[in-house]
């Protein structure tokens, strides 16, 4: 990935834009933004959910056309925004928030899709070279995976890798790489790997725009930080002049303390949720119980089975073993039965498993519990609107317009809609994968609060998360998974970030199956 071009002078930005605005109808998602990246610089872009980060990325990539009146230049050469081809040709490369992978196509296809496939006579794709190119690229990024498999079955790390590899592919090396929340679905180990990659690119003189809600990452990798709020530029500050509190203040306008859930008393009462002998994709016999009002965390490295526990218990994934709520067993793969029995579920893949596109926030929010807004036999729009407004406030959904189409919300706000949907329907047990995935730091606090309030009202939670801090803040008790089995349980004072991380890793090292092989 060494540059063959004359490098731009270190002072001249590789990308500079000014006055970039984008409106969706009357809503101004981006308001006259000015932004630049220098060669070899990592410029972080942060802001609350819906502040316009992804919109900015999509404008740069040509997915959205900005309002007229902007200026943009790449390596000093003026460019027009709004064309994907122009963006690619001038050397802008993207890893989008949703990665933009085509699930049915193979890894190699996805890597090469946007640029040219190597071809032989008659435009016939040279598969041998194509696969080698894709594999080499991934290899140089430090990943090795079978490039013939469809991306549908890939783990998040590998999906991210494919996204980055695709961005790096092409005849000319890029000027700027834009990473929109690349770590939202990554475990800690994956983040380190990603940073290695970013540093290598940096060394090649590539400018990187880095978007994340994980401020520790920002402090680790960024040279400068730009903060957006409601589409408006708040500040651009070198990282050295910032500390975490100051940055949080810039983002949300105040300091934030995530707190810690009060220890649960009376844990020995009969469990509400009881899971025995759970087998599913990546799970090899898991047992646990959850008592009323308890928040149980599921930790584990990627591939430990952590990702499938919630889905398997709920029945969105095939499973064997018994799952019972209040002593009544629930049949597998019957989500509607599970919900009747008192379960709720928020999957990690919200676009597929949660959100109903085209329907409004209101309709998405009330879907599983419509009885509360009935007047007689009919839905009462007034009641529904009143009910929904409360929740918009409570989880801080922006914009707080109940009639906004849910699929037009920013990623983090979509997550909040789903949380509100399930917290509102007051299940006995709510199963959540990655509860604050893509959620900004201000809203995280809000969400924790709401979860704690619900727990206080005897709602139990099973929370699987790749973020150990989150588990510590939220959970009464954390189960550590490794290779599909529960290898440890942490609670009380033993429940610390370090303890979780250590258990995850040692669990993986002392594998019970190892002795059998």
């Amino acid at each position: 990935m060494t540059s063959t071009r004359t490098s731009p002078s270190p002072t001249q930005p590789v990308l500079a834009v000014a006055g970039v605005s984008k409106c969706f109808g009357a809503h101004r998602a981006l308001d006259s933004l000015t932004f630049d990246v220098k060669p070899g610089e990592v410029h972080a872009l942060v802001g609350h959910n819906g502040s316009g980060k992804s919109t900015f990325v999509k404008v740069l990539s040509g997915f959205h056309t900005p309002e007229p009146g902007y200026r943009a230049a790449v390596a000093g050469v003026p460019m027009t925004l709004g064309s994907a081809r122009a963006a690619h040709d001038t050397g802008l490369r993207f890893v989008h928030q949703e990665l933009g992978l085509v699930d049915n196509l193979s890894v190699a296809d996805n890597v090469l899709l946007g640029s040219a496939f190597p071809t032989r006579r008659l435009g016939r794709i040279d598969w041998t070279r194509a696969r080698r190119q894709a594999a080499d690229l991934l290899d140089r990024l430090g990943y090795s995976l079978d490039v013939c498999q469809p991306v549908a079955g890939l783990s998040p790390i590998h999906r991210t890798a494919v996204g980055i590899a695709r961005a790096m592919h092409g005849d000319t090396p890029p000027h700027v790489l834009v990473l929109d929340e690349p770590t939202a679905a990554l475990p800690t180990s994956g983040v380190a790997g990603l940073f290695d990659v970013v540093r290598r690119l940096q060394a090649d003189g590539i400018g990187v725009i880095y978007i994340s809600h994980h401020l520790d990452e920002v402090f680790e990798i960024a040279d400068r930080v730009t903060v957006l709020r409601d589409g408006q530029h708040v500040a651009t500050v070198p990282i050295d002049e910032l500390d975490t509190d100051r940055l949080i203040e810039l983002i949300v306008g105040k300091t934030v303390d995530l707190g810690r859930t009060a220890a649960k008393v009376g844990v020995d009462q009969a469990p509400v949720l009881e899971v025995r002998d759970l087998y599913a994709a990546g799970l090899a016999g898991v047992d646990f119980g959850v008592s009323a009002g308890e928040v149980v965390g599921i930790a584990g490295i990627a591939g430990s089975g952590r990702e499938t526990v919630a889905g398997a218990v709920f029945g969105s994934l095939p499973r064997t073993g018994t799952v019972s709520v209040d002593g009544a067993e629930i049949r597998p793969e019957r989500p509607e039965r599970a919900i009747e029995a008192g379960l709720g579920y928020i999957g990690a893949d919200r676009a597929v498993t949660g959100l109903i596109p085209f329907l409004s926030i209101r309709e998405n929010l009330t879907l599983p519990r419509l009885d509360a807004v009935l007047r007689g036999f009919f839905l009462s729009p007034q009641r529904e609107a009143r009910d929904v407004r409360q929740w918009l406030q409570r989880v801080d959904i922006r914009p707080a317009d109940p009639e906004k189409r849910a699929d037009q919300l920013s990623g983090g706000n979509q997550q909040k809609v789903l949380l509100a949907r399930w917290l509102r329907s007051l299940p006995r047990v709510l199963l959540i994968d990655e509860p604050t995935q893509g959620v900004d730091v201000g809203a995280v606090e809000r969400i924790y609060q709401v979860i704690r309030q619900a727990a206080a009202r005897e709602v139990s939670f099973v929370v699987s998360s790749s973020n150990s801090d989150e588990l510590v803040a939220l959970c009464n008790r954390v189960l550590v998974l490794s290779r599909g089995c529960v290898v440890g349980e942490l609670s009380g004072t033993a429940l610390t970030r370090e303890a979780i991380d250590r258990a995850c890793l040692t669990g993986a090292l002392t594998d019970p199956m190892e002795n059998l092989r």
Binding site: P335, E336, E340, L359, L367, L370, L379, A400, P402
Partner: protein
């Protein structure tokens, strides 16, 4: 603990609560989703100028509504499953089956009105059952399943009709069912209005309606939100086949002669009206938009027929009106994507 700052979105929060959905629809109707109304108004004005004496008559109103009623019934019959994500292509041929079957029951077996009604509706519902089995149990795409069922229904109809034009002697009361008029409004169009009203209330104001919409927009997420999506799919396919049969009975009594080729011709106009309607009043397929679509196309056709232009011009015009209205209100079709 609220965040201490003021942003535009916070200000937006201070707006008074939204008025209820109904009045919002009426506001939208003259704001965002008005394309069809303008097209309709323009046509009425043009025809009133060109052929004032024969266009601006109660009879024109009556026959326009009457002629379009079958299209309307079928369009509404396609609409409901479509809201739930199922495209029922079989509806016109099932209507044709009902038309021929009911006429045949009368002509061959001299059955009474009630028997004819019950037997025809039940037999037609069987087509819905087959579609439903294919779609839910065998996971066949609904377009494919209903295309197959449509062809089978046509075959059965042809076998029953055996090539003949069946001329039944229905009870006078049953004939009124298809030919009656209240004021200047033909009964069949009143059925259209009634069915549109019921469908509207179900879709907008009941749990069932909300669930149907969710199923149509994202069946996986709907299922994970506790909706028994398969049961809903069975339900809508049953309802659409019964609505098709109802349309077929209206057609049988209205036309008075049943042939195996009568009903099939209504599929395209019905779908065109439905699609046109999906850009009107609100986003996506909806009952009143569908009725509006039916009326727009019917008024255009009527005017041209009264002007005596050749039928080719009629098709050219229908297509053009569909395209123009959709282009004006284009955004509404996002939901069809």
């Amino acid at each position: 603990m609220t965040i201490s700052r003021i942003s535009p979105t916070d200000l937006a929060d201070a707006r008074p609560p939204e008025p209820d959905a109904r009045s919002r629809n009426w506001r939208q109707l003259f704001a965002r989703r008005f394309g069809g109304f303008w097209v309709l108004a323009a046509m009425v004005v043009v025809f009133s100028i060109v052929i004032p004496d024969i266009f601006l008559t109660p009879l024109t109103l009556q026959t326009t509504l009457g002629d379009s009623a079958i299209t309307g019934l079928l369009a509404l019959g396609v609409m409901l499953p479509l809201v739930a994500g199922i495209f029922d292509l079989s509806i016109a041929q099932v209507a044709g089956f009902a038309m021929v079957f009911a006429s045949w029951l009368q002509e061959r077996h001299a059955m009474g009105t009630v028997e004819i009604f019950v037997i025809t509706l039940s037999a037609s519902a069987l087509f819905g059952v087959v579609s439903a089995l294919l779609v839910t149990k065998l996971s066949v795409n609904s377009l494919v399943a209903t295309l197959g069922v449509s062809t089978v229904a046509l075959g059965v109809t042809e076998i029953i009709a055996n090539g003949n034009a069946i001329q039944p002697d229905f009870d006078p009361s049953f004939v009124e069912f298809g030919r009656g008029v209240i004021g200047n409004i033909p009964l069949p169009f009143i059925y259209v209005l009634l069915i549109a009203s019921v469908t509207y209330y179900v879709l907008e104001y009941t749990t069932l309606g909300r669930r149907l919409q969710a199923t149509g927009c994202n069946p996986v997420a709907a299922r994970l939100a506790g909706i028994n999506t398969q049961r809903l799919q069975v339900l809508v396919l049953l309802i659409s086949s019964i609505m098709a049969a109802f349309a077929g009975l209206v057609l049988a009594t209205k036309v008075g002669v049943a042939t195996d080729s009568t009903a099939g011709a209504f599929l395209f106009p019905a779908v065109a009206a439905l699609f046109l309607g999906a850009t009107q009043i609100k986003d996506g397929p909806n009952p009143w938009g569908t009725v509006l679509g039916v009326i727009i196309l019917a008024v255009g056709m009527k005017g041209l027929q009264l002007m005596g232009v050749s039928p080719g011009v009629g098709n050219f015009f229908s297509g053009a009106v569909l395209l123009i209205a959709v282009a004006i209100s284009g955004r509404g079709l996002e939901r069809l994507h």
